[in-house]
Structure formats: structure tokens, C-alpha cells
């Protein structure tokens, strides 16, 4: 999946996460995490983001997250949503691959 534009999903409400993805002008993945539980779960959030990017075969993009204590399913959902928006894809998603 190629990220060609800004994609954003989520909110700053409790138990949610706001994720922005953008094309990366240089190569590779850049991840910036701001979280209320960064000390305890920062590494896990990063790993979850990397795993989700790998599943969708995204190898070049900027990911910026502001986490308000979201569970894994919410982090993955918001990231998937932001990535598909960033790729300009809204329909005919291969759900079995997510």
C-alpha cells in the first residue's frame, strides 16, 4: 500500500487515539508517539503500529499518534483507517487480510 496523501482517524477522547499518516519525503517509516501511557506501553504501541504497517505492506510513511489510553483493537482500527485514507482507498477492502 502506498501512502499518497494525509490520512487521519480517531479522536482525543479517553480510550481513543488520534492517528495521522503522511507520505514520507525520505525513505522508510517514521513513527512519533505521544501517549498518556507512553512509559508503560510506548514500546507495545510502537510494535503494534509496525505490525499493522507490515500487514498492509506499507514501507514508507510518517505516522504520528496521540494516544489517550486506547486498547489494541482501537489502535489497529484507527491506523488501518488512516492508512486507507492516506492511500485514497475507501471501498473493496480485503477484510480477510486485516
Amino acid at each position: 500500500m502506498k501512502i499518497i496523501q494525509n490520512g487521519s482517524a480517531g479522536t482525543l477522547e479517553s480510550s481513543d487515539i488520534l492517528i495521522q499518516v503522511n507520505p514520507n519525503k525520505s525513505k522508510g517509516i517514521n513513527i512519533h508517539i505521544d501517549s498518556v501511557v507512553k512509559k508503560q506501553f510506548g514500546d507495545e504501541i510502537r510494535q503494534l503500529i509496525i505490525k499493522t504497517l507490515q500487514t498492509l505492506e506499507v514501507d514508507c510513511c510518517e505516522v504520528s499518534v496521540i494516544d489517550k489510553g486506547a486498547l489494541d483493537f482501537a489502535i489497529v482500527s484507527r491506523l488501518q483507517s488512516a492508512l486507507f485514507k492516506g492511500a485514497g482507498v475507501d471501498m473493496n477492502i480485503c477484510w480477510e487480510e486485516l
Binding site: 481513543d16 486498547l71 482501537a74 484507527r78 488501518q80 483507517s81 477484510w95 486485516l98
Partner: protein
């Protein structure tokens, strides 16, 4: 029809906190909403949330229903593929007007089940009628497919279409409720009543639940966790009712042994309809106890 569907709790599909916590309130079914409670620009993000919630959260044996967008909206088909892939129990159609509406959705569900290696027919359906045409066609909708386990009335759209509004006594809904109920009973499917939106009016809510129980509805769509226990309390048979029903059933068994068609209990005639009602009371009580 022994499974309890007294309460079907609406959960907005775009709220991760509510999707996470919904099961703790004890509703019989959870209904994740992708339709009217979701703004147009939030539809796809809600779909991802509902998809992952169904896939990843352990809701135990709680029945998971998803209200999808209509096919006419252009996004209903994507909703179906997402929730079938995730393993949803029941898909609820909004604004159903004809049996063909159900069959059109069923055809896509079947394609999705095949695509995602699910057992064909394992995804059940519900249909909500929200217009005069839908209510008029209630029986043909209720009998349109074996997948359909129940029909429901959606009152807000219905009363708008009828050029009226909702009132405290629900008189504007009496015909529609009765029509849907009769269709459900004739088709042997569940009948689920509409939401009660004034969540702070507990007295009004209790009155409405008592009314729909007396009419014969199996349960009610609800929008607030505070409404769960009230519905369950009204719907669960009391010990006195269960004791009486048990005595009726015992008397009927006794009569059967003696080859008697009609019997008397406490000076009152007991015949088949009374025994049937008693059996339903005991079934409901047992199901409530197990739940």
C-alpha cells in the same frame, strides 16, 4: 424461540470506549451501529472499529448484531463484507420496505460467507421496518428467508413518515406495533420494539416496556445501559408467576396420564392455550436464570 432477546443495546460504532465496555451492562444482545448514529465522514472509520472489535474483543456468548447502512446508501455492501469477515452473529437491515430488500442483502451476505470460508447461512438477519410500506409488508418480510430471526419497528422514522410524532401513550404506533407483532408471530420470528429516546424519563420508559410486553413483543431496542435492568425486571417472570405456571404444567401432565382433555386447577378451567402460556413463562424464567 427460547433465546432471550429482551434487550438489544445500541452501541455507536465509532466509539471505542463504548464498544469495549458494552458487554458489561448485561444486555441480551449488543447492536453495533454503522447507520444513523454515524456521521457520513465517519462511516469508514466506524466500520474498521466494529470490524476489529468483533474480531478481537471477547464478548463471551453475547449475541453481536450490527446495524448496517442500506444498500441504497452505496456503503451497505462494504459493511456486510467487513462484518461477515469479522464473524458477526446477526446483520440488522434498516429501513426495510419489501422482502426483496432482505433478499438483496442476503445475496451479498452469502457471497461474503463463501469468500471468507464461513458456513453459508450462519450469519443471521433481522429487519427493521421504519415506513408505512415496510409495516404493510411485515409478513412477507418476516417470511422472506430462513436467516431472518426477527423483525423490529423503528419508530422515529415511522412517525415522521406518518406526519406525526411520538407521544407518551404511543397511540400513533399502536397499529404498526400490532401489525409487526402479528407478522412476527405468524412467521415464528422474534418481534423487537423500538427505542425509547427520553432516557431520563424512567417512569415513561417503564410504562412503555410494560405496554410492549403486554402486547407480546419479545424485547426492546435500547439506547442507554440504564435501561437494561428495567426491561429485564419487567420481562422476567416473578416467582409467583413461575410457581403458578409450574402447577399448571404439572396438572396438565397429570390430566394427560388420565386421558382428560380439560382439567381444573384452583377452580379454574385449564386448557391447551393456558398450558402453552405456562410453558412459555417457565421457559423465559429458565432462560433468564441461565443468562
Amino acid at each position: 424461540m427460547s433465546q432471550l432477546r429482551r434487550t438489544m443495546l445500541y452501541v455507536p460504532g465509532n466509539n471505542p470506549g463504548m464498544l469495549r465496555d458494552a458487554y458489561i451492562y448485561g444486555a441480551d444482545s449488543l447492536m453495533f451501529d454503522l447507520e444513523d448514529s454515524i456521521a457520513l465522514n465517519e462511516k469508514s472509520t466506524a466500520r474498521f472499529l466494529v470490524f476489529n472489535a468483533i474480531k478481537d474483543i471477547d464478548y463471551g456468548n453475547k449475541e453481536i448484531v450490527v446495524r448496517i447502512n442500506s444498500l441504497e446508501s452505496g456503503i451497505g455492501e462494504e459493511d456486510i463484507y467487513a462484518v461477515v469477515a469479522a464473524g458477526v452473529d446477526v446483520i440488522r437491515l434498516p429501513k426495510t420496505e419489501t422482502a426483496q430488500d432482505v433478499l438483496d442483502v442476503e445475496a451479498i451476505i452469502e457471497k461474503a460467507e463463501i469468500k471468507y470460508n464461513k458456513v453459508v447461512g450462519s450469519t443471521r438477519m433481522m429487519a427493521a421496518m421504519e415506513s408505512p410500506l415496510g409495516v404493510m409488508n411485515a409478513y412477507s418480510i418476516a417470511t422472506s428467508t430462513k436467516r431472518l430471526l426477527g423483525i423490529a419497528i423503528g419508530a422515529e422514522d415511522f412517525v415522521t413518515n406518518m406526519y406525526t410524532s411520538r407521544s407518551a401513550d404511543g397511540s400513533e404506533l399502536m397499529v404498526a406495533r400490532s401489525q409487526i407483532l402479528m407478522a412476527a408471530r405468524a412467521a415464528k420470528v422474534y418481534a423487537i420494539d423500538t427505542v425509547y429516546s427520553d432516557v431520563d424519563n424512567e417512569a415513561g420508559f417503564r410504562k412503555e416496556v410494560a405496554l410492549i410486553k403486554q402486547l407480546g413483543f419479545d424485547g426492546k431496542s435500547i439506547i442507554n445501559p440504564r435501561q437494561v435492568n428495567i426491561v429485564h425486571e419487567i420481562y422476567t417472570p416473578s416467582k409467583k408467576e413461575v410457581d403458578k405456571a409450574t402447577r399448571v404444567i404439572e396438572a396438565s401432565h397429570e390430566a394427560e396420564k388420565k386421558g382428560l382433555g380439560v382439567i381444573s386447577l384452583d377452580g379454574k378451567m385449564i386448557d391447551k392455550p393456558i398450558v402453552d402460556r405456562a410453558e412459555r413463562v417457565v421457559t423465559l424464567a429458565k432462560a433468564a436464570e441461565e443468562q
